[in-house]
Amino acid sequence: MPGRHQGARVVLLAVLLLAGCSSSPQSQPAPSVTFGSGATTPGMPGMSGMPPMPGASASAPAPATGSPAAVAGDAVSIDNMAFVPATLTVRAGSTVTWTNHDEEPHTVAASDGSFHSPGMGLQGTYSHTFPTAGKFDYICSIHPFMHATVVVTQ
C-alpha cells in the first residue's frame, strides 16, 4: 500500500473517534474515502469537493442515427423487443438490413464477433453482407435476451 494512503487513514480514524465521543454529531466532518483499487482516485468530485472539471460541455445530445440508406435485400424488423423473423435464411453474398421500430435502442451483435452494429435509435437501420455460408446467431447487446439467427446458404 503506497504511503499516500496513510494520511487518509489517520483522518478516517479521527472521524471514527469523533463518532464515538462527540455529543453534537451534526457538526462532524464528512468521512474521508480511502481507495484500494487504483493508483488514482475513481469517481469525480461533486460541487462541495473540488471545482467542476473543465472540458465537459453542456451541448445537447445528438439524435441517434443508424446507417442512412437501407440496402436492397433481405430484411429483419425489430418490433416489441424481438427480431422478426427470428430465423432468416439468405444466399451467400446477400445483404441483410435490420430496422428498429422500437423507442428503445437496439444493436445487432454476432455471437462469433463477426459483426456488431452501433446503437440504432427509432427507425435506425444497419446492414451487413454475408459473403460465406454458415449459421450466424446474434443478439441485441443492450437487451441480450433478444436473440435470432441468420442462416446463409451457398
Partner: protein, 309 residues
C-alpha cells in the same frame, strides 16, 4: 414479510398477488416511501448523524427521446435538485448506471456536466449496458473510468464501510456478467477485511435473479457473493430495472432502485421490458432518488425512497 420472500420460489413470488410488496415493507410517510426489512425500522430513527449517509441515483438515460419521457434531462436535473435539497450533503452520490441512452460522447459530456452540480464531496458511477452499446465501455471509461481497475471496477473504504463498485454490463450473453478477472478482484479485495466490516456493493444489473427472462440477473453473481458469505452485513444496490424492489438472501440484502427517466413494467407484465408511458402528471411519482444511511452497530442500512414529485 422477509421470511415469506425467503420461502417462496421465484415463480411463486411472481404469482403472489401482492408481488411488488411481497419482499419489501413500504410505508408512505409524508410523501416519501420508506422501505425496510424486518427488524430494521429503528435504524431510520436513530438520532444524530449516521456513520455514513449517501444518495443513489440511477438510469438517467440522457439522450432518450420518446413519449415515455419527453425531457429526461429535465427530470435528471430535478433528481439532482432533490439530492441537493436533502438538508445535508451526502457523503457521496452513486449513479448506478445507464447514465446515457446511447453512449455517445455528447451524452457522456452532458451527464457528467450535470453531475458536477451535485453538492457532495464524491460522485461515483458504474456503467449500464446503455453506456457500453458498441465499444465494450471504452467511451464510458474515458469519461468516468479514471482510477478504476480492469474494465472499470473499483473499491474504497469510507467511515469503516467497504464499498465495491462492479461492472456487469459487458460481454452479455443473456444476463449480467462479471467475468473471471472481476471475480478474482473481488476475492482479493475482501480477503483482508474482518468479517464485521459492513460491505456495500454497487452494480447496474441486479446481482440477484429478479427476472432472468428479461435479463434481470447476473449469471456469475453467486461466485461473487460466495466471497461475501462470511460478512455480517452485505448490501447490494442496483439500477437497471427502473423500479424499487428488495430481496434478502441469507446475509445479503438486495435493493433495486428506481430511475430518473421512465418506468419499466413489473416483471412479466407484458412481453418485454419496454418503456411505460404513464398518464399525464403521473410520471414523476415513478421517478426518484434514494437516501441510504448506515449507523455503526446496525447490520442493516436504512433506505428512504424519494420521488421527484
Amino acid at each position: 414479510m422477509t421470511d415469506a420472500a425467503h420461502t417462496m420460489s421465484r415463480r411463486q413470488l411472481i404469482r403472489h398477488s401482492a408481488w411488488f410488496g411481497a419482499a419489501v415493507g413500504l410505508a408512505v410517510v409524508g410523501g416519501e416511501v420508506i422501505s425496510h426489512i424486518a427488524g430494521t425500522a429503528d435504524a431510520a430513527r436513530v438520532q444524530g448523524r449516521p456513520t455514513l449517509r449517501f444518495a443513489q441515483v440511477s438510469d438517467s438515460h440522457i439522450g432518450f427521446t420518446g413519449k415515455a419521457n419527453s425531457n429526461v434531462a429535465s427530470s435528471f436535473s430535478q433528481a439532482i435538485d432533490r439530492i441537493n435539497d436533502l438538508g445535508y450533503p451526502p457523503d457521496f452520490v452513486i449513479h448506478t448506471g445507464d447514465l446515457t441512452h446511447l453512449a455517445t460522447p455528447d451524452q457522456f459530456d452532458q451527464v457528467k456536466q450535470m453531475m458536477t452540480g451535485l453538492r457532495t464531496p464524491h460522485v461515483f458511477t458504474v456503467p449500464g449496458e446503455h453506456d457500453s452499446v458498441d465499444d465494450a465501455g471504452q467511451k464510458y471509461r474515458s469519461a468516468f473510468g479514471a482510477g478504476t481497475r480492469g474494465d472499470g471496477w473499483y473499491s474504497f473504504d469510507i467511515a469503516g464501510v467497504h464499498v465495491i463498485a462492479l461492472v456487469n454490463t459487458l460481454n452479455l450473453k443473456k444476463l449480467g456478467h462479471l467475468g473471471a478477472d472481476q471475480l478474482d478482484f473481488i476475492a482479493k479485495d475482501v480477503a483482508a477485511l474482518s468479517s464485521d466490516t459492513p460491505v456495500i456493493v454497487f452494480s447496474h444489473i441486479p446481482l440477484f435473479a429478479m427476472y432472468p427472462d428479461w435479463g434481470w440477473g447476473t449469471d456469475d453473481a453467486a461466485q461473487a457473493l460466495s466471497n461475501l458469505r462470511r460478512f455480517s452485513s452485505v448490501t447490494c444496490l442496483n439500477g437497471h430495472v427502473h423500479q424499487v424492489f428488495s430481496k434478502t438472501e441469507g446475509n445479503v440484502t438486495f435493493y433495486s432502485g428506481t430511475t430518473t427517466a421512465y418506468p419499466l413494467p413489473h416483471p412479466g407484465d407484458g412481453p418485454a421490458p419496454k418503456p411505460v408511458t404513464l398518464p399525464a402528471g403521473k410520471l414523476h411519482d415513478a421517478l426518484g432518488i434514494r437516501e441510504v444511511s448506515y449507523t455503526k452497530g446496525q447490520n442493516a442500512l436504512a433506505l428512504k425512497e424519494r420521488t421527484l414529485q
